[in-house]
């Protein structure tokens, strides 16, 4: 059960990554009503460049625990990007049930601006270090125009258009609708009127994807404390869980509009349809569309039409990315999983103020990770 959760998110944070994580942790501890010495488990992730620009850190979790003053009985680092934090939650609940630890801290984030300002992503950060190769496929991948999540998701969007006839306007509508949710949420970074036409007027970064369909990397940490007791918070836990990983490269699969979300969600499709609201990974507009289809919420190929016809607001027919998503919150350190989980917890604890889903009893969260959609985590949180 989660006893405390907090975020510390900035467009550009001036201080060190250590100050930033300390801020998120301090707030989460306060909510949980416990002290640092009560934390006996630690789960995190490391992505190149987001820890004050370091490409690598030696014995990373130990260094962080040492700095924060935590002496854990259990340490874990999950390195599959965006959905890692969702897996950490499920694992932490099980570890606590097994009696391995009492209060496990999940600390996820970093300074995305350190990478963004050098015009790289965490996936291309190696370009700053010519002696480093991040894949076994070396020059067969990294010497081409670009091996980059933006161009790769653009290929998925282009294929979806070609095969299913989805349109640029449909993707732009999703973005405009998420912005409406952001305007009501009270804590989004990007707010204000935004029409589908505005989205289509923004520059094309990798065709067919426009600037405003692409998440913006920011600085931030989320801290979630998973405990034996939920304290002041509602007693909710993971009801259904699935994770799936696939290791082929996109050129090696038959259909790039298929993600491991099909596999990670397959054991509880009926339960997914019964949820009160939905938080789907929104690194790009197309990411949300692929998950709508791959988790059985919408038939294959129909996500574009679905977005056209349906409201995704909290009082609409499918409340989706109710806080505006990471497209509007900003993506802390190139990972959106914590943004989804944070919003879900606000809703489930009736703390979403301006944008509260009525009777939020069950939420479906889906995370997608890796630059080429190789990882998916699906879960339902509820009583």
């Amino acid at each position: 059960m989660i006893s405390g959760f907090a975020e510390a998110v900035y467009k550009n944070y001036d201080g060190s990554v250590y100050d930033l994580m300390d801020e998120a942790l301090g707030k989460a501890l306060e909510m949980a009503g416990i002290e640092r010495k009560d934390l006996d488990g630690f789960m995190t992730t490391f992505l190149p460049g987001v820890f004050d620009g370091n490409i690598y850190m030696h014995f990373f979790p130990d260094q962080i625990c040492g700095y924060l003053g935590i002496t854990p009985k259990y340490i874990d680092s999950l390195d599959y990007g965006g959905p890692s934090v969702l897996s950490a939650l499920w694992r932490a609940e099980r570890l606590i049930k097994e009696g391995v630890a009492e209060n496990i801290l999940l600390l996820f984030g970093g300074k995305g601006s350190d990478v963004r300002k050098r015009k790289q992503t965490v996936d291309s950060f190696e370009k700053l270090y010519p002696e480093v190769t991040n894949t076994p496929y070396r020059h067969l991948i990294n010497l081409y125009n670009s091996m980059n999540p933006v161009s790769d998701y653009a290929l998925a969007a282009e294929r979806h258009k070609k095969i299913f006839g989805s349109t640029d306007y449909q993707r732009a509508e999703l973005i405009a609708k998420q912005r409406k949710n952001a305007n009501r949420s009270g804590y989004a970074m990007f707010t204000g009127d935004l029409s589908p036409e505005d989205v289509l007027k923004s520059s094309i970064i990798a065709s067919p994807l426009h600037l405003l369909e692409i998440v913006y990397p920011v600085d931030g940490f989320h801290a979630f404390i998973v405990s034996r007791k939920s304290g002041k918070l509602r007693d909710i836990r993971v009801q259904n869980y699935g994770e799936a990983h696939q290791s082929l490269l996109p050129p090696e699969v038959d259909d790039i509009t298929v993600t491991p979300a099909i596999e990670s969600s397959k054991n509880f499709r009926k339960e997914i349809l019964k949820c009160d609201f939905y938080e789907l990974y929104d690194s790009f507009s197309i990411t949300v569309m692929l998950q709508l289809e791959n988790t059985g919420i919408v038939p294959k190929g129909q996500s574009g039409k679905f977005i056209e016809k349906n409201s995704i607001s909290v009082d609409g027919d499918l409340p989706l990315n109710t806080g505006g998503g990471s497209i509007n919150r900003g993506q802390p350190a190139y990972m959106s999983g914590s943004v989804l989980l944070y919003e879900a917890l606000l809703q489930m604890n009736e703390m979403a103020s301006g944008n509260q889903v009525k009777n939020a009893r069950k939420v479906f969260i889906n995370g997608i990770g890796g630059w080429s959609r190789n990882h998916s985590v699906s879960l339902i949180l509820g009583d």
Partner: protein, 112 residues
């Protein structure tokens, strides 16, 4: 076979303007990105052979001032490639050409 042997053979074939790929002798599937064990069935009975160097654009994007995409080759394997030529759109046929990219001779896709 070791991974370095695969890269050496690929480089030799690139230098003579041939497009290599790997065929698994067990499951008959084709793939391009070097592994000494077939990613589809786990067999280590593989061979490097010469592709026709023709195929079609499975998906493409204009990015960083150039075109880039996934090419599906006639022999059934797929690869990321830079794409050059006229009227570059998904579904068009391509042929493979070669050029030096950052000191390495590498294939790229060309639309006639």
């Amino acid at each position: 076979m070791k991974i370095e042997d695969v890269y050496n053979e690929y480089d030799r074939m690139f230098a003579s303007s041939n497009m290599p790929f790997i065929r698994c002798n067990t499951c008959a599937k084709a793939y391009y990105y070097p592994r000494t064990v077939c990613p589809f069935c786990g067999s280590s009975s593989i061979e490097i052979i010469k592709s026709s160097g023709t195929g079609e654009i499975y998906s493409c994007t204009e990015f960083n001032g150039g075109f880039y995409g996934i090419i599906k080759f006639k022999e059934g394997f797929g690869a990321y490639m830079d794409i050059e030529g006229n009227n570059i759109v998904t579904g068009r046929n391509i042929i493979i050409k070669f050029r030096e990219i950052s000191g390495k001779i590498l294939p790229y896709a060309f639309v006639d």
